[in-house]
C-alpha cells in the first residue's frame, strides 16, 4: 500500500494506483477525457494535470503517474485551472460546435468540461475540422469533426476487443482516427468504440435523434442472448428500448458488450411480436382470448397426461424454468428437456461423471490472469464474444499463452502469439486425449487423489501424441507444449462452449476436457478453471434446475422420435424454434405433424409456432423480472424496462395461469418462486434473492471445488473421408434464432451463407455472393457463398441461425457432414 495526500486528504491506495485513481478513491474529482478505467494509461488529453509537491516546476498527468509514498498532490490551483482552460480552448479551436443536434449533448465530457471551466470565449482561432463522416454502416456513425483525439476508440478496439479497427493516422493537426485505408468501418460492430467515445464523434446510429439522455429511463437487466450474462442497461422511452446505455459498474462484463448486446435488443420493439394468444381453428391460427387459450391448453395437456413432452429453451428465467418443472409435475409427465437435449451433455454427464459437478469451476474475471488458456473450438469467440474479450486481455496484457483447438481459424487464432491446433473436423476429443496421455507419460500429470488413473492409461493406448497429431493433421510438438503449459503454469483455463449447433460428441468433449482439467490440476484450483459455457442466457440455470428428463422418461431426441411415430399426445414447446434450430428438421416436422396437440409459447410466430395448435404470446427479457444464471454460475436479476406488447405475458405469468387452470398451485410471484427454487436446487440452497446484488451472486463461490476426481476414459472421433465436409456453428452476429428479428445483427449479416476457404473457392471458382448448392444425405440446401480465410481446404462452414437455409435438413448433429458442392 502507498500513503499519499491529495488536497489535504490522507489516502491509502494499492501499489499500482495512479494519482487519478487515488484521488477517485479519496472522493476528489479530477477531470479526464482520454482516461478510461478499463484501458491502459494514455495521458494524451492533458486535462487531468495536477501539481505534485515533490515534482515542482511542471504539471503532472494524474492519469498516468503512479501514486508514490508520501506524495503531496494538489488537484486545483490557479495555474491548474489556467492550463486546463487553455487545453479546452485548444480542443474547441477545431471542434465543430454542433451541440444542439449532437446526440451526445447532455452527456458529453467536452461539453461538461467547457461548462465547468466556463470557457465562454476562445483566445485562439483556427480552421474547423472538415472531415467526411462515415455513415455507410447502419450501426456506428463516425463524425471525426467532433473528435478530441483521446484515442479511446482505437484503444478499446485493440486492448479489449482485439479487433484493431481504428488507428491514428497522419501527424500533428492532420492527426485523425481512421480505419485501414481510411475506408468505412467494417468490423464486428460491437460498438465498444461507441461506449468509450467521450464526445459525439462515434455514435450509435439506431439511436440518432431518438432521445436526449436525460429523457431516458435506465434499467439494468441481463442481455437475453448468450451465457455470458452481460449487464445491459436499457435506455427506455415511450415503452421502447431506445438504446443500451454504457454501464461498467454492474455485472461481470465491465461495460463491454458485443454487437448482439449493444445493437441486438431491438427485437423487443419489433412489430412482429406476438400480441395475442392464437388457437388453430379450421386449420388456421386465429386470435383468441387468454381464457380460451389457457383452457384449451389445460384440456389438451390434461388429456395427454404422461404422454406429454415438454421442451424448453434456455432463455427462460430460473423462476420460469421452475414453473416448467411444476408444469411437468402437474401434467404428470417426466418427458422434460431443454435445448435439444444433446448439446449440454458435456456438463450434465461429462462433468458429472468426472468432477461430480454440472457447472464451470471458476469465474470469468479470473481468466484475465491466466497464464495459459486452452480454447476448444475457435467458435468460442462467436458464441461468447465478451468472454472472448477477457481472453484477449489475458493475452495482450498479461502475456497469456492462448492455444486454440479448432477445425478452422477465427478471431481467437489471430490473437497475439496464439497457437492453433487446426485439426480435421470432429477430432477435438482425440487431441485432448493426446494431451492427457502426454501428461501421464511424462510424469507431469497431477495424479494424487485421482481415481481411474490406471484405467485411463490403458484406454489412452491409441492416443499417443504422434498418432493423434498425424491423424488430426496437427503439430505434435504443439500438443505437447500446450499440455505442458497447462500443467505447469500458475493459473490456467480451459474453455468450451456448447449449444445447439455443437451437438456432436458433447458428452465426450466434456469428459475429455474434465480429464485434462484433473490431470493438469486446473479443476478446483483457485485462479484456474474449466469453463463450459452455454449458448443461451440461462443455459446454466436450465441445468441447475434440472430441466432434464426424469428417470426412465424421454429426453428431447426421445420425445421427437416418439412423437414422430405418433407415440406422444402433446408437445409443449417454450422459447424454442425447433424447426430452425434443432438438428434433423425432417424429424421435427414429423413430430409436430404426428402429435395431435402442440403448444408453442414464444415471442414471435416462429416456424415451429406456425405448426402449433395453440400459440401463447410471451414476454422478452426486457419486459420481465426474475433471475438467470450465466456460464460462470453468476445469478443475476432481470428487471423490466418496458411493458409487453398487446396481451403478451411473461412466461412466468403464463405458467402461473396454466398451473392454476390445471388445478395446481404456483408461487405468487418471481420472488416467491426464487425462494422455492433455491431451496430445491443444488448449489442454490443458501442463496436468497437479496444476496443477488449489482454484481449478481456466484453460487458455489468463485472457485467451485470438484465433488470427486474421477478420470473417465473416452473414445475420440474419426475424421470423415469426403472431398468436402461441412461444419455447422454459430455466427458472431447472431445467437440462436432470436437475433434474426433484431435490426443490428440483421444489418450486418442478413442472410444465410456457406463459407468457403480461399483454396476451395479458387478451385471451385466460387466468389463472394455466388449461389452454391450443397448436397448431402437428407437433402440439398443452397445459399450465397462467402469466401474467407478461416477454413482449410475441404472444409465448409454454415451458420445455423437461418430457417431459410434449411441447414438442419442435412445437419443431424454430426461433427462434420460429407457434402457435394455445385454452383
Amino acid at each position: 500500500m502507498v500513503n499519499l495526500t491529495i488536497d489535504g486528504k490522507e489516502v491509502k491506495v494499492g501499489k499500482t494506483a495512479t494519482i487519478y485513481e487515488a484521488a477517485k478513491e479519496a472522493g476528489v474529482h479530477i477531470p479526464v477525457l482520454c482516461y478510461a478505467k478499463k484501458l491502459l494509461p494514455y495521458g494524451a488529453c492533458r486535462i487531468c494535470l495536477v501539481e505534485v509537491e515533490q515534482m515542482k516546476g511542471r504539471l503532472i498527468p494524474s492519469c498516468t503517474t503512479p501514486a508514490t509514498e508520501g506524495m503531496v498532490v494538489t488537484t486545483m490551483s490557479d495555474e491548474i485551472r489556467k492550463v486546463r482552460k487553455t487545453v479546452l480552448e485548444f480542443l474547441l479551436v477545431n471542434h465543430v460546435i454542433e451541440c444542439p443536434v449532437c446526440d451526445k449533448g447532455g452527456e458529453c465530457d467536452l461539453q461538461d468540461l467547457t461548462y465547468e471551466y466556463e470557457v465562454i470565449s476562445n483566445r485562439f482561432e483556427g480552421e474547423k475540422f472538415d472531415l467526411p463522416k462515415d455513415e455507410i454502416n447502419p450501426l456506428i456513425e463516425r463524425n471525426m469533426n467532433r473528435c478530441v483525439l483521446c484515442g479511446k476508440c482505437a484503444r478499446v478496439c485493440d486492448e479489449v476487443v482485439g479487433y484493431g479497427s481504428y488507428s491514428f493516422i497522419n501527424r500533428g493537426f492532420e492527426t485523425k482516427i481512421a480505419t485501414a485505408f481510411d475506408r468505412g468501418l467494417n468490423c464486428e460492430f460491437c460498438g465498444q468504440c461507441v461506449s468509450m467515445c467521450p464526445v459525439g464523434a462515434i455514435l450509435p446510429r439506431p439511436f440518432k435523434f431518438k432521445a436526449r439522455p436525460w429523457q431516458l429511463k435506465e434499467v439494468n437487466s441481463v442481455c437475453g442472448y448468450c451465457g455470458n450474462g452481460c449487464t445491459v442497461t436499457l435506455g427506455t422511452k415511450d415503452n421502447e428500448v431506445q438504446t443500451i446505455r454504457f454501464n461498467d459498474k454492474t455485472g461481470v462484463n465491465d461495460g463491454n458488450l458485443c454487437i448482439r448486446g449493444r445493437f441486438g435488443a431491438s427485437y423487443v420493439n419489433s412489430d412482429k411480436r406476438l400480441t395475442s394468444p392464437l388457437i388453430r381453428k379450421n386449420g388456421e391460427l386465429v386470435e383468441a382470448s387468454w381464457e380460451e387459450a389457457l383452457e384449451t391448453v389445460a384440456t389438451g395437456l390434461r388429456d395427454a397426461g404422461s404422454s406429454t413432452g415438454i421442451l424448453s429453451g434456455a432463455r427462460l428465467t430460473n423462476e420460469e424454468l421452475f414453473l416448467v418443472k411444476g408444469l411437468a409435475k402437474a401434467v404428470g409427465t417426466g418427458n422434460l428437456d431443454h435445448s435439444g437435449g444433446e448439446c449440454y451433455k458435456g456438463v450434465t454427464q461429462g462433468l458429472q461423471e468426472t468432477l461430480g459437478l454440472q457447472a464451470s469451476t471458476a469465474t470469468f474475471p479470473q481468466v484475465e490472469n491466466a497464464k495459459a488458456i486452452l480454447a476448444i473450438r475457435t467458435d468460442f469467440y462467436e458464441t461468447h464474444p465478451v468472454f472472448g474479450m477477457v481472453v484477449n486481455q489475458a493475452v495482450k496484457r498479461n502475456d497469456a499463452q492462448l492455444t486454440v483447438i479448432g477445425d478452422k481459424q477465427g478471431k481467437l487464432t489471430r490473437m497475439p502469439h496464439a497457437r492453433t491446433l487446426q485439426h480435421k473436423p470432429g477430432l477435438e476429443v482425440n487431441i485432448l486425449n493426446a494431451m492427457c496421455r502426454f501428461l501421464l507419460d511424462e510424469g507431469l500429470a497431477k495424479i494424487d487423489g485421482l481415481q481411474g488413473v490406471e484405467e485411463l492409461k490403458v484406454a489412452l493406448a491409441d492416443y499417443s501424441v504422434d498418432a493423434v497429431a498425424a491423424a488430426a493433421g496437427v503439430d505434435a510438438a504443439a500438443i505437447k507444449q500446450t499440455a505442458r503449459e497447462l500443467a505447469t503454469v500458475e493459473n490456467a483455463a480451459i474453455l468450451l462452449a456448447y449449444g445447439l449447433p455443437y451437438t456432436a460428441n458433447s458428452r465426450e468433449l466434456g469428459l475429455a476436457a474434465a480429464n485434462l482439467s484433473l490431470l493438469t490440476g486446473i479443476a478446483g484450483r483457485a485462479g484456474s478453471g474449466l469453463y463450459l459455457c452455454g449458448e443461451k442466457s440461462n443455459s446454466q440455470g436450465a441445468i441447475d434446475l434440472q430441466i432434464l428428463p426424469a428417470a426412465g422418461a424421454l429426453g428431447a431426441s426421445g420425445m421427437l422420435k416418439a412423437a414422430s411415430e405418433g407415440k406422444l399426445k402433446a408437445l409443449y414447446v417454450a422459447a424454442e424454434d425447433m424447426l430452425v434450430s434443432y438438428p434433423d428438421k425432417s424429424l421435427v416436422e414429423k413430430a409436430l405433424e404426428k402429435t395431435s396437440f402442440v403448444v408453442v409459447q414464444d415471442i414471435f410466430l416462429s416456424e415451429t409456432a406456425r405448426k402449433a395448435d395453440v400459440v401463447l404470446p410471451a414476454a422478452s427479457f426486457a419486459e420481465k423480472s426474475g433471475t438467470v444464471t450465466n456460464a460462470e454460475r453468476r445469478i443475476q436479476r432481470l428487471n423490466p424496462g418496458i411493458k409487453s406488447p398487446g396481451q403478451a405475458k411473461s412466461d412466468f405469468a403464463i405458467f402461473q395461469a396454466l398451473l392454476s387452470a390445471l388445478g395446481a398451485t404456483a408461487p405468487a410471484d418471481e420472488a416467491a418462486a426464487f425462494a422455492e427454487l433455491s431451496a430445491a436446487t443444488s448449489g442454490y440452497e443458501m442463496v436468497s434473492l437479496d444476496m443477488v446484488g449489482d454484481q449478481g451472486y456466484v453460487w458455489g463461490s468463485d472457485n467451485l471445488a470438484p465433488e470427486m476426481r474421477n478420470l473417465v476414459a473416452v473414445a475420440g472421433g474419426k475424421a470423415i473421408e469426403a472431398k468436402y465436409q461441412l461444419v455447422v456453428g454459430s455466427s458472431l452476429y447472431h445467437s440462436g434464432t432470436t437475433s434474426l428479428h433484431a435490426k443490428g445483427p440483421m444489418a450486418v449479416v442478413a442472410e444465410p451463407y456457406i463459407e468457403f476457404g480461399r483454396e476451395d473457392a479458387a478451385e471451385l471458382k466460387v466468389v463472394d455472393g455466388d449461389l452454391v448448392k450443397i448436397k448431402a444425405a437428407g437433402g440439398v440446401i443452397s445459399a450465397k457463398a462467402k469466401v474467407d480465410r478461416r477454413l482449410p481446404k475441404g472444409v465448409l462452414f454454415a451458420p445455423y441461425h437461418f430457417g431459410a437455409l434449411d441447414l438442419n435438413r442435412i445437419y443431424h448433429g454430426q461433427a462434420a457432414i460429407a457434402v457435394e458442392v455445385s454452383k
Binding site: Y42, P61, T64, F90, I169, G172
Partner: protein
C-alpha cells in the same frame, strides 16, 4: 577467416594485421562520407584507383576510403599519411598531380591546401588547419583513419579491446560502475546520466532485455550521428555490446533514419563482418555472451527520435510517445526492460572502457564530461562537424574553429540544440558548452546542432521557422503540443506578415508556458524554446514587428519595401536588367523607379546596384516615398 574464438585469437589476429601494415608507407585517405560523396568523392576515388595503377605505384602506396572528416564544406578531402598532408576540394583531375608530385616526389600541391580567409596563410598539415587544431576529436578521430567497412582497420585502432576487457575482466556491475564514474551523459538531447540509465535497466526484473541505438537524427542540418555511424560503425557496435553485457541483454536494435542510406549500408557490412568473425552471435570470443543485432529503418518522423516513440515505431506502431513512467528501462521494447542511447553515446563507451573513467571524467566541466560533437552550420566560415571538450565556449567554437561570420556581417545569434533549442545573443557567447549552462542560458545541448546567424537574420522569423518545423513534426497525440505549437506558429506568422496585434507577446508567453508545462514528451516540452529564448534576448525585434510593423533585420518580406533613392540612382540599368518581375521603370539616363505593386521583393535590384552607387534601399516600418514623377526622371 574463421570465427575468432578467444581473446588470444583476437590479439593474434590484431598483431597479424598490424604486422602487415608499414606505418611509413604512404597512405592516401579519401573522405567518403555523405557530404564528400555529394561533392564528388566517388569520382575522385575512381580516379585515384586508376592513377595509382597508371603511375605504377600500386606497391608503394595504400589508398583508403574513410568516413567523414568533419570539414565538409571543403570536401572532397584527401589526407596523405604518415605526414598528414591535407588537400581540400580535390577533384578527379587533381589526382594525377597528387600522385606524381606528393607521392613520388614528396612535393606539396600548393593549390589544394587550406588558405586562411583572414590571414591568407596556407596550412599543409591537417593539424595546422584552425578548424581541426582547436578540436579534440576523441570520438570522430578514428573516422579519417579507417575504412568503415573494414574490421581489420577497426582492429588496427584498438577495436574490440574494450569488449574483450569487459567480457573477461569485468562484471556487469563493474561496467555500469565505470560508465557511472566516467559521468557520461546521454548525447541525444536530455543529457541523462548514462550509467544511471544502464543501472535501471540492469536492475529491472526480466529475463529478456534489449539495447537500442537511436540513430534517428532529425534536427535540421545536424548530422553528427550520421557521420559516426557512417564512419565508424564498429565503435557503435562495440559500445552497444558492452552496454548489452552490462544490462543483461542479448538482442540489440539499431534504429536508423531511412534518409541515411550510407549509414545503413556501412552498418550492415559491419554487422556482417562482425558475425563472420564471431564478434556477434553466439558465445562471443568464447565468453558465453550471445548477442545479435537487427537494423531497423525509420520512416522519417522527427518524433521517433524520442525514445518511447522510437520503441513504438520499432514495434510497428505509429511513432508517438508513451507516458513515462514506466520508463523504457522498466517497460520498453515489447514491454521488456530496454536501454536506449544515442549513437554518439554508444560510440563513447569503448573509449571509456579502454582509457578508464578517470581519463574521461578529466575532460570537460564539473557536470558535463568528455567531448561533444557539434554540427556547425549557418553563417559561419568553416561549416562542418566539430568535436570539442565540454566547457569550450561558444565563442571559441564559432570564431576559432568556425572562423567567424563570413563577409563583413556581424554575428547576431547562435542557436544550439536543434529546432527546439534556443537562440543566444552575442552577450552570451562566452557560455560554455555544458548541459546545465546551456539550459540556464535558455538554450540546450540537444543532440548538438549549432546554427550561426548574422545580422541579416530576423529572429522572429527564425522562431517562426522552427515552430513551423515542430508543428509539422508534432505527432498530434497530446493536446498542448498539437494545438499549442500551431497557435504559437500562427501568431509568429502573423508577426512576420505585419498582422500582429497588441498583446500577442503576452499570448505567446502564455502559450509557451502551457505547451512547455503540460505536453507529454520532450518535443512539446521544449518546442517553445525558440520563442522563449528569442523573446528573452531579442524582444525589441518582436516589438518592432508588432508596433512598427518593422523588421529590423530587413528580412521579413511582408514588412520591407525596395526603393531606389533618386538622389543616388545613376540610371545604369543594372537593377532594371535584373528584375524578374518587370517592376522597374527605367530608361537610359533616367532615374529608375520601382513599381511597388509589381515588386516581388526578391532583392535582385539591391544586389545588382553597384556598390559605388548604393541606390537601392530596403525600407521597413516607414512609408515608401512618392515616386519621382515621369517628367522629372531625366538625369543630368
Amino acid at each position: 577467416m574463421s570465427r575468432i574464438k578467444s581473446p588470444a585469437e583476437l590479439e593474434a589476429f590484431r598483431k597479424e594485421i598490424l604486422a602487415q601494415r608499414d606505418p611509413d608507407k604512404p597512405c592516401i585517405t579519401l573522405c567518403s562520407g555523405s557530404a564528400c560523396n555529394a561533392t564528388g568523392s566517388g569520382k575522385v576515388a575512381a580516379a585515384l584507383e586508376l592513377e595509382i595503377e597508371k603511375q605504377g605505384v600500386t606497391t608503394e602506396v595504400v589508398s583508403r576510403r574513410t568516413g567523414c572528416h568533419g570539414f565538409c564544406e571543403q570536401g572532397p578531402i584527401v589526407v596523405i599519411y604518415p605526414q598528414g598532408i591535407c588537400y581540400l576540394k580535390v577533384q578527379p583531375e587533381d589526382i594525377a598531380e597528387i600522385i606524381s608530385e606528393t607521392i613520388k616526389k614528396q612535393k606539396i600541391v600548393e593549390r589544394l591546401l587550406y588558405v586562411d580567409p583572414n590571414s591568407g596563410e596556407r596550412a599543409t598539415l591537417e593539424e595546422d588547419i584552425p578548424f581541426y587544431k582547436n578540436q579534440k576529436r576523441l570520438v570522430l578521430g578514428s573516422n579519417r583513419k579507417i575504412d568503415p567497412r573494414s574490421l581489420e582497420d577497426y582492429l588496427a585502432v584498438e577495436g574490440y579491446q574494450a569488449l574483450t576487457k569487459v567480457l573477461f575482466e569485468m562484471t556487469p556491475e563493474q561496467v555500469v560502475g565505470e560508465v557511472k564514474d566516467a559521468k557520461l551523459r546521454g548525447r541525444g538531447g536530455a543529457g541523462f546520466p548514462s550509467g544511471l540509465k544502464w543501472d535501471f535497466a540492469r536492475k529491472a526484473p526480466g529475463d529478456q532485455k534489449y539495447v537500442v541505438v537511436n540513430c534517428d537524427e532529425g534536427d535540421p542540418g545536424a548530422y553528427m550521428d550520421r557521420s559516426v555511424m557512417e564512419g565508424n560503425p564498429f565503435a557503435v557496435l562495440e559500445g552497444l555490446m558492452i552496454g548489452a553485457y552490462a544490462i543483461g541483454a542479448n538482442e540489440g536494435y539499431i534504429y536508423v533514419r531511412q534518409e541515411y542510406p550510407l549509414a545503413v549500408a556501412n552498418l550492415t557490412v559491419a554487422i556482417e563482418k562482425a558475425e563472420e568473425y564471431g564478434l556477434l552471435g553466439k558465445d562471443i570470443l568464447g565468453s558465453g555472451f550471445d548477442f545479435t543485432i537487427k537494423v531497423h529503418r525509420g520512416a522519417g518522423a522527427f518524433i521517433c527520435g524520442e525514445e518511447t516513440s522510437l520503441l513504438n515505431s520499432l514495434e510497428g506502431k505509429a511513432g508517438e510517445p508513451n507516458a513515462r513512467p514506466p520508463f523504457p528501462a522498466i517497460r520498453g521494447l515489447w514491454t521488456k526492460p530496454t536501454n536506449i542511447n544515442n549513437v554518439e553515446t554508444w560510440a563513447n563507451i569503448p573509449m571509456i572502457i579502454n582509457k578508464g573513467a578517470a581519463f574521461f571524467s578529466a575532460i570537460g566541466t564539473e557536470s558535463s564530461k568528455g567531448t561533444k560533437i557539434f554540427s556547425l552550420v549557418g553563417k559561419v566560415n568553416n561549416t562542418g562537424l566539430v568535436e570539442v571538450p565540454m566547457g569550450a565556449s561558444l565563442r571559441d567554437i564559432i570564431f576559432k574553429i568556425g572562423g567567424g561570420v563570413p563577409g563583413d556581417k556581424k554575428f547576431k545569434a547562435v542557436q544550439t540544440g536543434g529546432p527546439s533549442g534556443g537562440c543566444l545573443p552575442e552577450g552570451l557567447l562566452d557560455t560554455k558548452v555544458d548541459f546545465d549552462e546551456l539550459s540556464q542560458a535558455g538554450a540546450m545541448m540537444g543532440s548538438g546542432g549549432m546554427i550561426v546567424m548574422d545580422e541579416d537574420t530576423c529572429l522572429v522569423d527564425i522562431a517562426r521557422y522552427f515552430l513551423a518545423f515542430l508543428s509539422d513534426e508534432s505527432c498530434g497525440k497530446c493536446t498542448p503540443c498539437r494545438e499549442g505549437i500551431r497557435q504559437m506558429l500562427k501568431i509568429l506568422t502573423n508577426m512576420t506578415k505585419g498582422l500582429a496585434k497588441e498583446g500577442d507577446i503576452d499570448l505567446l508567453f502564455e502559450l509557451a508556458e502551457a505547451t512547455k508545462g503540460s505536453s507529454m514528451c520532450a518535443l512539446g516540452k521544449t518546442a517553445p524554446n525558440p520563442v522563449l529564448s528569442t523573446l528573452k534576448h531579442f524582444r525589441e525585434e518582436y516589438e518592432a514587428h508588432i508596433n512598427e510593423k518593422r523588421c529590423p533585420s530587413l528580412s521579413c518580406k511582408a514588412l520591407i519595401d525596395f526603393y531606389i533613392d533618386p538622389e543616388k540612382c545613376k540610371g545604369c540599368g543594372a537593377c532594371f536588367r535584373k528584375c524578374p518581375a518587370e517592376a522597374i521603370e527605367g530608361g537610359k539616363k533616367r532615374i529608375h523607379v520601382i513599381v511597388q505593386d509589381k515588386c516581388t521583393k526578391c532583392g535582385g535590384c539591391h544586389e545588382a546596384c553597384p556598390a559605388a552607387f548604393d541606390a537601392v534601399n530596403i525600407l521597413s516600418g516607414v512609408p515608401v516615398p512618392e515616386a519621382t514623377p515621369e517628367e522629372a526622371r531625366a538625369i543630368g
